[in-house]
């Protein structure tokens, strides 16, 4: 964690005095390093670019790619691309949200799962797909959601 923080500070410091057009690349870099955009990072980024924090947050919330909560232990990506949509990914997403009690971009309170909507993972033949902690689960249905989540809950329990 400490190394990550240092890393983020370095990234931000490197951009001191840059133009406001570098805002989005910095946001991406910081999110890449930290997994999300923390309050401290948003404030710091604003400071080095001479932008109010509200402006930085405004730009960041405009784009789906940015998240403001740390990733969960198992990061879930759900594909909402065309093929997955046609095969019923909307219902899968709805079930995920209900089961986890979070919206896309959020993390469960126990920090176990985080949820992200992506557009195409590139395996349309297996639609609809989700990826949990890097493992792709194919031909998803709302019914399979609990089952899959339980596998990961079990893994977490084992480690504990």
């Amino acid at each position: 964690m400490t190394t990550e923080t240092v890393n983020v500070e370095e990234i931000i410091a490197r951009h001191r005095g840059a133009g406001r057009d570098t805002l989005i690349p910095i946001l991406q870099e910081v999110q890449e390093a930290e997994g999300y955009l923390s309050r401290t990072s948003v404030a710091k980024i604003g400071e080095v670019l001479g932008l109010p924090a509200s402006k930085v947050y405004s730009v960041a919330t405009f784009y789906n790619q940015f998240r403001f909560q740390p990733l969960g232990r198992f990061h879930i990506q759900i594909c909402r691309g065309t093929a997955c949509h046609v095969k019923g990914s909307a219902a899968v997403l709805e079930t995920l949200c209900r089961e986890l009690e979070i919206e896309p971009g959020e993390t469960t309170r126990d920090r176990l799962f985080s949820l992200e909507v992506v557009v195409c993972i590139g395996v349309c033949g297996l639609a609809p797909v989700i990826s949990v902690g890097g493992n792709v689960h194919a031909r998803m249905t709302p019914g399979k959601v609990t089952q899959i989540l339980d596998i990961y809950r079990g893994k977490a329990a084992e480690d504990a």
């Binding site: 309050r39 948003v42 404030a43 604003g46 109010p52 924090a53 509200s54 402006k55 930085v56 947050y57 405004s58 919330t61 405009f62 784009y63 403001f68």
Partner: protein, 572 residues
Amino acid sequence: MSIQVDNRQIEAHEGETILSALRRNGVEVPTLCHMDGMAPTGACRLCVVEVEGFGGLVPSCSYPVAEGMKIKSRSPRVLDARRTVVQLLLSNHPDDCLYCSRAAKCELQELASELGISERLYSGEKSTRTKDVSSPSLVRDPDKCILCGRCVRVCEEIQSVSAIDFMNRGSKSFVGTVFDCGLNVSSCINCGQCVVVCPTGALSERFEIDDVLAAIADPDKFVVVQHAPAISVTLAEEFDMKPGTDVNGKMVAALRRVGFDRVFDTSFSADLTIMEEGSELVQRLTSGGVLPMFTSCSPGWIKFVETFYPEFMPNLSTCKSPQQMMGALIKTFYAERQGISPENIVSVSIMPCTAKKFEARRGEMGRGQLQDLDYVLTTRELGALLRRCGVNIEKMESDTADTPLGERTTAGKIFGASGGVMEAAARTAHFLVTGRELDKLEIKPLRGLEGIKQASLDIDGTQVNIAVVSGLGNARALLEEVRSGRQDLHFVEVMTCPGGCIAGGGQPLNADLDAVRARMKALYKIDRDGPVKTSHSNVAVKKLYDEFLGKPLGHKSHELLHTSYEGREVIK
């Protein structure tokens, strides 16, 4: 140049927008996002007109006139488009106009009526964001927001605070703070300029009318009210009288009629402020104190320094604002003198300002568990309170404020306009140093609505360089100059709101620049016609020093009339 509008020739100026040409020629064009003096954004699309040779409708707020242009400002196509825009805005608007604080003053409601919209045509998904009631000064109700962006722009472009901005995208857009936290923990400085420009009920001050009426109704409470210098020249507008009408005497009578036990004038404590602040300036100048000294009357400015420029806190005068000086005196000096326990006093102020509500609740502003001031009402709230109580201000017989805290000079009165504090301070500082009055009490370069005014004052051969700033964007520019080495300034007056308290965040709505100018003129007329024009000649203030305070900057003054500041850790 000449352009044709609705088959009529009108004169237009090179470089101006269609909207400005139309409005000057008596053609009313509705807008919900346009703000005079600021660059157009073309966000609301209500100002569209037809221009011959153009396929689509043209937003008149952002399109320049051209020679020979043929414009239709009220064709069926134009009116239809405007009506559709308003209907779409209404599609997710809560239909609770009966319960809305902006009812009858809402620009959206007015437009719906003007455009003949009599039923809901589109039913959209309603937004259900939480009302932000965290601020002691302001309330934000995002459900009533139409995303015109005026508040965002005034906060960023005029005040350079940027506490709020557009968040999210598309139908999920809303105006909010960074990380959507409450205004109370944001960088908001409570100035209320966002309320003044808001076309709907999405922004308002935190109302305290009910609390004040309850206190008045309580037989055990002794309810005292003070009114700020800028109130008597603006309250008239709440009752549809001409801007700049001074209703001081009638207002005092109305306040008594409502049931306040004592009516005091904040201009009295403005005079007192001048004695303290003038002395502080002289002390700083003669004993190598921190310069330039900044005035401390405007609580939005104070929070601005605490938040964005804490290194300048030593430059702020330690004087409390006139409101708080009066508050401290009422619950100490006056309570003692009248034999009333401070616990039984309810102290109310009428202010042109929303930040004053925040100021009154600052931890520094009281003794023990007791706050010096209990409730702060804006000019608008006073209007509402008088209407609720059925007090017709126009029919009041003029009355005068109570002694001794209601005795003022005109120097205290001109605090209400940008430059007024400086002018009053200059008059007294000159006297304190030389023992003589200024040859000319009127200091013209300090008057007017310009954002930055500068002058040099000769006090017995010593040059004192002064500046007067209003609008925090201008203040920020000046602070940056000082930060990068500017050293000539000795004394700077800063008012949070552009033009000073006459254009404060608590003032009557829908005032244009002409109205603000009329308010300002009214204050300077009072100064011109008044018998006593210098704070040091205020007999009641002198007596207060003789009988209670001792001398300016003395022990008692420090205890009651001076304060300290704290840096603020917020995401900014």
